[in-house]
């Protein structure tokens, strides 16, 4: 794969000049500017990577799309999806989009699944609502989803609770939940930070395949440039609520323009590795995910 294969498909979701402020600690304190004019376009079949320092507003951007900003947040700008400005939608309409058309995988898999509700229920309640499936049909679909994300014994898994899975499995379940209604847009907020490299590799493959096979538009938030390099089609770098750099993956990673990006890349431990190619190649390793589906 190379970077110059960017095909200009129509944008699926367009964020324009997104500004978000949050109230300060008390009423008198000035409001905090969280996002300061963010522009972003998600295209079907493409992964848009967002990198940036901790606290730069990556998560907030994702939340803004789904209208899940903290209470008291003031939003400005447009988020256009299928001809509608999501920021202007009523809560009922928004609920029709959430989970159905646009889904999100949250940063921490162990907290985004309800610990007291069976995985099966968490996988199906929105499916039943959005797609009007029967319980049985929804469960069957859920089983398929779990199989897709390579959860062993998916049928049994449906009646288990989140804590009965390892962190990696939970992250994959969270992804399955997000994919359950076949969304057009997937916002994945640091889906691999909590995982070790071997598990991370599997999830990256899954994301890639979703794009390639199903044409999902993905926004991948990560601060790991290695991950970025592995799957993102283009890269956006954020700092203090604003975008400092944007461009195709290869360009940004190999020829960063902004000093912050340069600093980031310069200090990567990977850059001290003599020759990365020496250490095995992806193609040599059996791909569990692919063989499973």
């Amino acid at each position: 794969m190379t970077n110059d294969m960017v095909v200009d498909t129509t944008a699926k979701l367009t964020i324009r000049n997104l500004r978000v402020t949050l109230p300060g600690p008390s009423k008198k304190d000035p409001r905090k500017q969280i996002l300061d004019g963010v522009d972003l376009t998600l295209r079907p079949g493409k992964i848009s990577g967002i990198a940036g320092e901790s606290g730069s507003g990556k998560t907030m951007t994702g939340l803004a799309v789904l209208g899940l900003l903290p209470p008291g947040a003031a939003v400005d700008g447009t988020i256009e999806f299928e001809g509608r400005n999501l920021l202007k939608l009523g809560s009922r309409e928004l609920n029709g989009v959430r989970g159905r058309k646009i889904a999100m995988v949250f940063q921490d898999p162990s907290t985004s699944l309800h610990p007291m509700i069976k995985v099966g229920v968490q996988l199906t309640d929105h499916v039943r609502k959005h797609l009007g499936l029967s319980k049985r049909a929804a469960m069957a679909k859920a089983e398929g989803l779990l199989e897709m994300v390579a959860i062993p014994e998916p049928r049994e898994a449906l009646s288990k609770y989140p804590h009965q899975f390892s962190g990696g499995m939970r992250q994959r379940i969270a992804i399955a939940v997000a994919l359950a209604c076949d969304p057009d847009v997937l916002i994945a907020d640091e889906p691999t930070t909590a995982l070790d490299v071997t598990v991370q590799a599997g999830i990256l493959r899954l994301l890639r395949r979703l794009c390639d096979d199903l044409g999902v538009a993905i926004m991948l938030v990560t601060h790991d440039l290695g991950v970025m390099s592995a799957v993102a089609d283009d890269v956006t770098v954020m700092r203090r609520g604003a975008i400092v750099e944007h461009g195709p993956r290869f360009d940004v990673l190999t020829n960063p323009q902004h000093p912050y990006t340069r600093e980031l890349i310069a200090s990567l431990p990977g850059n001290r590795i003599a020759d990365p190619l020496e250490h095995g190649n992806a193609d040599e390793i059996p791909d569990e995910l692919e063989s499973a589906s």
Binding site: L63, L66, L68, L94, N95, G96, V97, R98, G99, R100, A103, M104, F106, Q107, D108, T111, S112, L113, H114, P115, M116, I117, V121, D125, H126, K129, H130, Y161, H163, Q164, A174, V177
Partner: protein, 346 residues
Amino acid sequence: MNAFIAKYPLTLFLLRRIGIAVLLLVGVTIVTFALTNLVPADPVNLALGDDAAADPEIVAQYRKEHGLDQPVVMRYLIYMGNLLQGDLGVSLQTSQPIAGELAAALPATIELAGVSVILSVVLGVGLGTLAAYRRGKFSDQLLRVISLAGISVPTFWLALVAYYFLFYQWGLLPGSGRLDPTMWAPDHITGLYLVDSALTGNWEVFVNALGHLMLPAIVLTLYSMGLMVRFTRTSVLEVLNQDYVRAARAKGLSPARIVTAYVLRGAAVPIVTVVGLVFGGLLSGTVLVESVFAWNGLGQYAYNAASNLNVPAVMGVGLVVGVIYIGINLIVDLVYGFIDPRVRTA
């Protein structure tokens, strides 16, 4: 052993609990017995009138009849011996079996406490959730004032004030007792008038009993509801901050479904804890209210027994409350397991 533990965790859990319960009950008996015997007073004086108490023969007869002629330790052993045979002894005041008296008093309190618990749980959880959702808004502040007032008002005082106004001044609710004096209790099935009258289809009594329950139940509920509102609010707020709630919203679920399935479920453990505490507290804390409303329940009975140094009766109350307390704790723990699967396996 480990294999056994792994195989029958619940059985083992129960066995352990029962073991602790038995120990606790023995402790209750010892403490009660010791305390009641430490009171610098002779039950004979209370049970016998002036003339009778002056007559050594009658005093001797009374002491013999109630085993008071034995040394304290002996009396305790005799008591425990009888207890093992299911005999709670005989009241020093009425010479009636304690078991029977407790059986008569307990349902009254359970009915009252039960209704209060139901009311306070339903209202407390509902309003507490509302307050959490409306955090900082006017309705939250209003609920805060109301619930804190409920916690702050002296129950015995409120009982009197409520009685004075709601019954006496405005005649909104019937007064003391569990039923109008014209009515007799429904056939004894559970001793809970509401249940018994419903079972026997005696709706007139049902309505009457319900009416009589209202006033004391409201008074008791105000406190426990206040408590429930505060606790529910806190734990719902906590849950509202959880990622899984946000994740549920991201799934486009309806707010109603999110509250019932996700939020309340997440907040349930602390809420259940408080429910257990509240119910336990109500069972043992109704003394003053019962006396105002002439509600002849366990509280009145206990108060009477204690103020008359009716040792076997006080012991009986201790045991009953102990068993209930242990039972509630056990149920709460089991409910934890039901609510939170992580507890189940751990």
